[in-house]
């Protein structure tokens, strides 16, 4: 998921989510960057409203956290 996290950081910092920026972030984190994944990620995010997608998760923030508990 490191590629997705990298995109999320760029989204918060307001930088463009392009191949160069993603590669820089992942490089800095010591990730052995695969160019095709970066490309694919940029393409996948092209028409997506990231803030909206993130917000949808926020609707169930703990859902994730509480998964185990909820199952019990």
């Amino acid at each position: 998921m490191e590629y997705v996290y990298a995109a999320l950081i760029l989204n918060e910092s307001g930088e463009e989510i392009n191949e160069d920026n993603l590669t820089d972030v992942l490089d800095a984190a010591g990730v052995d960057v695969e160019e095709s994944r970066v490309k694919a990620l940029v393409a996948a995010l092209e028409d997506v409203d990231i803030d909206e997608a993130v917000e949808e998760a926020a609707a169930a923030p703990a859902a994730a956290a509480g998964g185990a508990a909820a199952g019990g």
Partner: protein
Amino acid sequence: MSAEAERKTENLPQWKKEEVEELADLLEDYESVGIVGLTGIPSKQLQDMRRDLYGTAEVRVSRNTLQVRALEDAGYEDLVEHVEGHVGLVATNDNPFTLYKELEASKTPAPINEGEVAPNDIVIPEGDTGVDPGPFVGELQGIGANARIEDGSIQVMEDSTVLEAGGEVSADLANVLNELGIEPKEVGLDLRAVVAEGVLFDPEDLDIDVEAYESDVATAAARARNLAVNAEYPTASTVPTLVAKATGEAKSLGLQAAIEDEELMPDLVSKADAQLRALAAQIDDEEALPDELQD
């Protein structure tokens, strides 16, 4: 002792003077002073209570007129109106709320006598009275208890309130209660009012709802957690939630954007499957669907 107080006591006989002085010392030595009702406490029990309170609070019993004088001299005018009936002074350095809790906890049940006023509802509890069949069943019924003979003894069929709080205990009721060993009174030092560091507290003020405080603590903790997580302030207790939130966000984005990530694939596949099924659910024609999608 102030000059004014000196003057007030000068007309009293010597023993009274000494007693007022003792009371004055008591009032001066402690931060909080209150009035406790002593009604119905046998003197032996009072001795025990005073001993139990040793180190926490001091109880002094004296003539009411002398108590009033000592209170007035010491500036506790607010308490004077509570000096009525059989009362004593209580003095403590403890928190008055704590004092109230301790006094309430030390109260013990006691029988109630004919002519006394019920301090609370008097209830004959449901169950076997253990009394053999006989005229007692009539006595029970007479005071309003739902009683009858069953299985060879007198049974009370349901919890029966036989006198409401404030009602006067009849001779019949006192007899029945005595026979059953029911002790409806709570006897003990009954705190009527306290002045702590200048502030007057009534028993209603002092009767704190511990559960409400407990719920407040939980609320406060929940709010702090919410704030820390929502403001993304990491602490040992909020980091797991923040991490979960971040991974949830990444996952949500990954699923929405159909990002080709190994971790996301199982969810993407199930999302696709769910979409397929949702679409299939809108299709009426069986011809159009494979068997596994038909209802």
